[in-house]
């Protein structure tokens, strides 16, 4: 196991919990009809966003997808700005213009999330190119799903990242489904990481339910990128607990499969480990939980109490 300070370990734990409880709470409110549109939620995949983003500095960047809430929380987008954006309020991180699928906050290093599958990956290359030309030692992480790796954008981007030796880490969250479609129907490979060899870059498979493993593998990749050694493709095997989006009952998944993955819950597993290591006690856990819950309630209240945008601002922000 890698060496992490007690504080860092607890931070990872708290962040995973924040994501889980935030998503659960938002879903309740969605069912109450308080959240417009649809939601693509992140429960189950917390170890990926948290394990990866914990390696990054504030001035490193990420690109995200239609499923960005977890990435946003892990990268440090203020929760109340996320909540307000979901509620379509003017105080949202994107002024209510982005919405659930386009959460982003430039000031903490998160581009507006991109909901066209695969399309964020070439853009991440450009961010990395800027870092490289300016020799800043910053890196960029591009998050995407298993489904994205069958898209042409993935191919063009990984090849270009490889040939220009860009400081970018490609993080594939393999949750085994693209919408309702199981990966085995749309790809003949066992491991997506094997596709890295088509570009001459390293590919690594990691247990995406184990936040420390994710952290370890991400650290190595980030170090390589910072040292000018180029990109890495990391495949995190993980699972989304919910349906694809909030209208999806996910009947296409066998119950046992869902049960299997839930038995490997990243937060539960990590808590167990922290208890074993004496980093955490049940009491401490309760304290953290209630702190997180409080933060979430504050964020939600902020969102609920925030004003709607005045309609005319719809015409602003088209051009700089």
């Amino acid at each position: 196991m890698i060496e992490l300070s007690r504080e860092k370990l607890l931070l990872l734990y708290r962040q995973m919990l924040s994501i889980r409880l935030f998503e659960d709470r938002v879903y309740q409110l969605f069912l109450l009809g308080m959240v417009p549109s649809t939601l693509h939620q992140y429960q189950g995949q917390e170890a990926v966003a948290v394990g990866v983003c914990a390696v990054l500095n504030r001035d490193d960047f990420i690109t995200s997808t239609h499923r960005p809430h977890g990435h946003a929380i892990a990268k440090g987008v203020p929760m109340k700005r996320i909540a307000a954006e979901l509620f379509g309020k003017v105080t949202g991180c994107c002024r209510a213009k982005g919405g659930s699928m386009h959460i982003g906050d430039y000031s903490v290093g998160m581009l507006p999330a991109i909901a066209i599958v695969g399309s964020g990956i070439p853009i991440a290359n450009g961010v990395a190119l800027a870092f490289k030309l300016r020799k800043t030692k910053q890196v960029v992480v591009s998050f995407f799903g298993d489904g994205a790796t069958n898209n042409g954008s993935f191919h063009e981007a990984l090849n270009m990242g490889a040939i220009y030796n860009l400081p970018v880490i490609y993080v594939c969250e393999n949750n085994f489904y693209g919408a309702s479609t199981h990966i085995s129907k749309v790809m003949k490979l066992e491991n997506i990481a094997d596709r890295a060899s088509a570009y001459g870059i390293p590919g690594v498979v990691v247990d995406g339910m184990d936040v420390l493993e994710v952290y370890r593998v991400a650290s190595e990749a980030v170090n390589r990128a910072r040292e000018g050694e180029g990109p890495t493709l990391i495949e995190c095997k993980t699972y989304r607990y919910s349906g694809h989006s909030r209208s999806d009952p996910a009947n296409y998944r066998p119950k046992e499969e869902v049960e299997f993955w839930k038995s490997r819950d990243p937060i539960f597993q990590f808590k167990k480990k922290l208890l074993e290591l004496d980093v955490l006690s049940e009491k401490e856990d309760n304290r953290i939980r209630s702190e997180v819950e409080k933060e979430i309630e504050e964020a939600i209240n902020f969102a609920i109490e925030s004003p709607l945008p005045s309609p005319e601002i719809a015409l602003e922000d088209v051009y700089a």
């Binding site: 549109s37 213009k97 386009h102 069958n150 898209n151 999806d248 088209v318």
Partner: protein, 338 residues
């Protein structure tokens, strides 16, 4: 008569054509997965069960690969009905659609045919800029495609059957808010649209507009969701003694100019209501045609009431502000009638 949603009407059209012609196949994402959705808006539910996975082909998220495969299959005489989940993703296959499907027959000097239908849900539904565009107007500038945009269950069924039997690439736009509120994918703001659809077989030829409402003071041309808002507006205007003729072009290419022009000759005023962005949009083409062919009949400038030239914003109050509403249609008519 039986009343169906558009989703049901389209499903029925697919089923009938698939029963009739073994060459008809479906290609798309999440369209035939057991326990799955039947496509993003339930349209293909049950078809894989009836026709098998050889003819209802689930794909990776590879829009270029999907459309390319559909083109090749069509050239060989299959009649693929391919789909993208939101019409915004047509841009992910734009080369295949605009550079290949639209041009290969012509490039070949007429040797080959491409009997391909590409279904694409259009319109804004509160999901933000990348799931919201109305692109049917943009594609009319690509020579070699036919463009269909039905607004009622009856039209959708009849036009889809004709599209499948047509020997050319047809882009078939369906408005997400018109699918009807039955089923899993009901949309906030959706129109509660049930329409009469006869049990007997029928088709509607491409290129024939439909006068959805007769009137004499002003002509409004509108399609898809905007047609329904226009009909509501017309209803309300009628109470004030304003008689609106409402024309649904139903197919954008080929376009039934004659019906539109004749109406303008009668009413001497025309308003075009459109969810496509105004600049360079579909309404501009209609306006330009009228001016070329019927300017002398106009008693007032042609007006375009379109979506503002912005990406579609997320928040419902913002989205509502940029897309034409019933009230704004009424206001525009009043202004035009002075």
């Amino acid at each position: 008569m039986r009343r169906l949603t558009i989703a049901e009407a389209i499903r029925e059209a697919l089923r009938e054509e698939m029963r009739k012609d073994p060459n008809v196949i479906l290609i798309g994402e999440d369209i035939g997965i057991p326990g799955g959705w039947g496509g993003p808006f339930t349209v293909t539910q049950g078809l894989a069960e009836e026709f098998g996975h050889e003819r209802v082909i689930d794909t990776p998220i590879s829009e270029t690969g999907i459309v390319g495969m559909a083109i090749g299959a069509a050239i060989m005489g299959l009649r693929p009905v391919a789909e993208v989940q939101y019409c915004d993703f047509l841009f992910c296959a734009m080369d295949q659609i605009a550079n290949q499907a639209a041009k290969l027959r012509y490039m070949s000097g007429g040797q080959i045919k491409i009997p391909l239908v590409l279904r694409a849900p259009t319109g804004a539904t509160g999901r933000g800029a990348q799931h919201a565009q109305s692109l049917e107007g943009l594609f009319i500038n690509i020579s070699g495609l036919k463009i269909v945009a039905p607004s009622t269950p009856y039209d959708a069924k009849g036009l889809l059957k004709s599209s499948i039997r047509d020997d050319n690439p047809v882009l078939f736009f369906e408005h997400k808010l018109l699918y009807g509120s039955k089923g899993a994918r009901k949309e906030r703001g959706g129109v509660e649209l049930l329409g009469e659809v006869p049990e007997e077989e029928y088709t509607i030829p491409l290129g024939v507009a439909d006068i959805k409402r007769e009137g004499k003071d002003i002509t409004i041309v509108a399609k898809l969701l905007m047609l329904h808002r226009t009909l509501e507006a017309a209803e309300e205007l009628e109470r004030d003694g304003i008689s609106v003729e409402v024309i649904d072009p139903r197919t954008l290419v080929p376009l039934d100019k004659e019906t539109i022009i004749n109406s303008v000759k009668k009413t001497n005023r025309i308003l075009i209501v459109d969810e496509c962005p105004k600049t360079g949009g579909w309404a501009a083409e209609i306006s330009a045609i009228i001016v070329e062919e019927a300017m002398d009949y106009l008693d007032a400038p042609i007006k375009r009431l379109c979506t503002s030239d912005v990406p579609i914003p997320f928040s419902p109050v913002l989205e509502g502000y940029v897309i034409p509403t019933k009230d704004r249609i009424i206001q525009a008519v009043r202004e035009m009638l002075g």
